[in-house]
C-alpha cells in the first residue's frame, strides 16, 4: 500500500503482553485519505494494532511513525489533535450528560481553563445532528441504549477533529439503518475533511462495500493487505477465518459481497 502521502509507517513491530507475543513483525505503509479495514478472527491482534497506532502502547520492538515522525516523540496533546480513537468498550463513570461527554472531545483544542466557544458549540450541535442524537443532548449518558451510546462515542471522536480516526468495531451495537448512514457519513468526511479512517471491522460484507483497503491479520501477523477488490478472495477468507465462502458481485455497482457456506470444514 503506497498510494498517496504516507499516514502511518510501521517497521518490524513486535508487541508482547505478559510475555505473550500479540503482534509479530508488523510492517505497514498506510496512505492518507482512505477508509482502511482491519479484519481478523477474535484475539488476532486487531485492537492491539489500533492501540499501537493510537500511541497507547509502545511497541516492544520496531518503530511506528505518524506523518513521518516517531509516535513516541509527539506530545500527548499534539497527538490528540492528530488522531482520535473510539475504543470497543465505551463506558462513562458518573452521570454525565450526553452534551458534556461529546464536549470533552474538544479538550485538546482548548486552553486549560477556557470555556467552550460558540464555534465549539456549533461543531458539537452539527455533529449531533448528523448522528441523529440531537434529542439526547440533556440525557444521562448511562441511561442510553448501547446503540445510542455508540453514536455519542462517535460524535465525541468526530468533534475532536482529528486527521485520522481509529475505530474499534464502532457499529457492533448499531441497527442497520444507523450503520449504513454512519458509514456513508464517514466516507463523506474522508473526502471533505481531509480525514483518514482505520477501523477494526467484524463484518466482512461491510468491509467489502465500504473499505478502500483491507488488512487481514491472524495470530498477530499480517496475512494480506491491499486494495479491497484486489485482495478479497475465498482463499484469504479461508486462510484467516477457516470458513468456506463464496464471493459474488453486485450487478449494479460491481461491489463484492460474500456468502458463507454453513458447512464448516472442521
Amino acid at each position: 500500500m503506497s498510494r498517496g502521502p504516507l499516514l502511518y509507517s510501521l517497521n518490524n513491530i513486535d508487541f508482547s503482553y505478559n510475555k505473550k507475543k500479540v503482534l509479530n513483525n508488523i510492517c505497514l505503509q498506510i496512505p492518507t485519505g482512505k477508509f482502511i479495514g482491519i479484519l481478523g478472527p477474535n484475539g488476532s491482534g486487531k485492537s492491539t494494532l489500533l492501540d499501537i497506532l493510537a500511541g497507547l502502547h509502545a511497541p516492544t520492538s520496531g518503530k511506528c511513525e505518524l506523518f513521518g515522525k516517531n509516535i513516541k516523540e509527539y506530545q500527548a496533546l499534539e497527538l490528540a489533535k492528530l488522531s482520535a480513537m473510539m475504543p470497543q468498550d465505551f463506558s462513562v463513570r458518573f452521570d454525565f450528560k450526553v452534551l458534556e461527554v461529546i464536549a470533552m472531545g474538544r479538550h485538546p483544542h482548548l486552553p486549560r481553563f477556557a470555556p467552550l466557544q460558540s464555534s465549539d458549540y456549533e461543531l458539537i450541535e452539527e455533529t449531533m445532528k448528523l448522528l441523529d442524537i440531537s434529542d439526547l443532548a440533556e440525557r444521562n449518558i448511562r441511561a442510553l441504549s448501547g446503540g445510542e451510546q455508540q453514536r455519542v462515542a462517535l460524535a465525541r471522536v468526530l468533534v475532536q477533529t482529528p486527521k485520522v480516526l481509529l475505530l474499534d468495531e464502532f457499529s457492533s451495537n448499531l441497527d442497520i439503518y444507523h450503520t449504513l448512514t454512519i458509514l456513508k457519513l464517514l466516507k463523506g468526511k474522508i473526502n471533505k475533511n481531509d480525514l483518514s479512517i482505520i477501523s477494526a471491522v467484524h463484518d466482512i460484507n461491510q468491509a467489502a462495500v465500504f473499505c478502500d483497503e483491507l488488512i487481514f491479520i491472524k495470530n498477530g501477523e499480517i496475512i494480506a493487505e491491499g486494495q479491497t477488490e484486489e485482495i478479497l478472495s475465498t482463499e484469504i477468507i479461508y486462510e484467516v477465518y477457516g470458513v468456506n465462502a463464496e464471493i459474488r458481485y453486485d450487478s449494479k455497482n460491481n461491489k463484492p459481497y460474500i456468502i458463507f457456506n454453513s458447512e464448516l470444514n472442521i
Binding site: A54, P87, F94, D95, K97, H107, Y121
Partner: protein, 348 residues
C-alpha cells in the same frame, strides 16, 4: 447558548446558598455549648477579632471561650470536612470508583498509624529524626498505604472496583490492629491513640489550623487545576489517553495531594470516616458530576457535614461522643446504599 448561561447562574446561586449555610452554621456552632452565648454576641466577638468592629466592649470570658476554644474547633471542622470531601471526590475520579474515599481506601488508617508511631516510638527511646514529626509520619503512612492498596488491587495494569475497596478494607484492618498493638504496648498514652482511632476535633488550636489551611488550599487548587482532566478520566483510561491526558502523571500528582490533605486532617482529628464518600455523592446528585464544580462544592458540603456532626456530638449528646463514631454510624449505611447501586450497575 442561553441555556448554558442559565446553568451558570444556577451554579452561582447554589454556591451563594452553600456558602451562606456554612457561615451561618459556623456562627450558630460557636454560640452553642456548655455556656450559651447569643448568636449576635458571637458575631460581634468574631468581627472584633477580625478587626471589622471596634466600639463595643465584650465580656472577657465569652471572648475567650469563642476565640480560644470554639472557633478553632469550628474552623477546623470545616477545613477537615472540606479536605476529606475533596480528597474523596478526587479519589473517586482518578480511580474511577464511586466507593473510594480516604477512609475506605485505608489512607486514614495509614495516616493514623504513622502518627501513632511518631508518638509511641520516642517513649521506647527510639529516636526519630526531628524532621519526621507526627504530621510527616502521618503523610508517609497515608501515601504508603495508598501504594500498598493500589498494588494489592491491581491485576496487570487494570484496577478492579471491588478489589480496590476490598484491598482498602483489608489493609485498613491490618493497620487498625497495628494501632491496637501500639495502644496495648504504650499503656499510658492510650487516650491519645484512642483519639486517633475514633476521630475527634477536641484537640484543635490555631497553629494546627494554619497547617490545615495551607494543605486545604494547596490540595483544592491543585485538584481544580486538573479538574477537566478528571472529567475526561470518567470515559476510561484508554479514551482519556487518546484525548491527551497523561494518566500516570495525573494519578501521581493527585494521589500525593489527597494523601497530603488526608494526613493533615488525620494528624489533627484522627480517623473520621465517610465524609469523603458522602459529600461528593450529594453534590453529584444535586449539581452534577462535572469536576470543575464538583470539587469546590464538595469542599462546602464536606465542611457543612462535619461541622454539623461535630456540633451535634459537642452540644446535644449527653456525653461528648467522638465525632468519628457518629460519621461512621451515619456514613456506613450510606456506603451500603452506594454499594448496592453499584452492584446493580446504576453506578458502574
Amino acid at each position: 447558548m442561553h441555556k448554558h448561561r442559565r446553568n451558570r447562574m444556577r451554579l452561582y446561586l447554589w454556591g451563594a446558598v452553600g456558602f451562606a449555610v456554612l457561615l451561618f452554621l459556623m456562627l450558630f456552632s460557636v454560640s452553642q455549648g456548655f455556656m450559651h452565648i447569643p448568636i449576635k454576641d458571637s458575631a460581634v466577638i468574631i468581627m472584633k477579632w477580625l478587626g471589622l468592629f471596634h466600639n463595643t466592649e465584650m465580656p472577657k470570658i465569652e471572648t475567650a471561650i469563642i476565640l480560644d476554644v470554639r472557633l478553632p474547633r469550628v474552623l477546623g471542622a470545616a477545613l477537615i470536612g472540606g479536605s476529606l470531601a475533596v480528597s474523596g471526590a478526587v479519589l473517586q475520579g482518578i480511580l474511577l470508583n464511586p466507593l473510594a474515599d480516604p477512609y475506605t481506601l485505608g489512607l486514614s488508617s495509614g495516616a493514623a498509624l504513622g502518627a501513632s508511631l511518631g508518638l509511641v516510638l520516642p517513649m521506647f527511646g527510639i529516636v526519630i529524626p526531628h524532621f519526621f514529626s507526627v504530621e510527616v509520619l502521618a503523610f508517609l503512612g497515608a501515601a504508603g498505604t495508598l501504594l500498598a492498596v493500589l498494588f494489592i488491587a491491581s491485576t496487570g495494569n487494570r484496577l478492579n472496583n471491588t478489589n480496590l475497596i476490598l484491598a482498602g478494607v483489608i489493609v485498613s484492618a491490618i493497620l487498625s490492629a497495628a494501632i491496637g498493638l501500639l495502644k496495648f504496648i504504650a499503656d499510658e498514652q492510650v487516650s491519645v491513640i484512642i483519639f486517633w482511632l475514633m476521630g475527634s476535633l477536641s484537640e484543635l488550636d490555631m497553629a494546627k489550623l494554619l497547617i490545615l489551611t495551607c494543605t486545604a488550599i494547596l490540595g483544592i487548587s491543585v485538584s481544580i487545576f486538573f479538574s477537566r482532566d478528571l472529567n475526561i478520566m470518567a470515559m476510561g483510561e484508554k479514551t482519556a489517553s487518546t484525548l491527551g491526558v497523561n494518566i500516570f502523571r495525573l494519578r501521581l500528582i493527585l494521589l500525593l495531594v489527597t494523601s497530603l490533605m488526608t494526613a493533615a486532617a488525620v494528624s489533627f482529628s484522627g480517623i473520621i470516616g465517610f465524609i469523603g464518600l458522602i459529600a461528593p455523592h450529594i453534590v453529584r446528585f444535586v449539581i452534577g458530576p462535572d469536576n470543575r464544580t464538583l470539587l469546590p462544592f464538595s469542599f462546602l458540603t464536606g465542611a457543612v457535614l462535619l461541622l454539623s456532626a461535630d456540633t451535634i456530638t459537642r452540644v446535644y449528646l449527653p456525653a461528648e461522643v467522638p465525632v468519628g463514631i457518629l460519621t461512621a454510624l451515619l456514613g456506613g449505611p450510606f456506603f451500603c446504599f452506594i454499594f448496592r447501586k453499584s452492584i446493580k450497575g446504576l453506578i458502574k
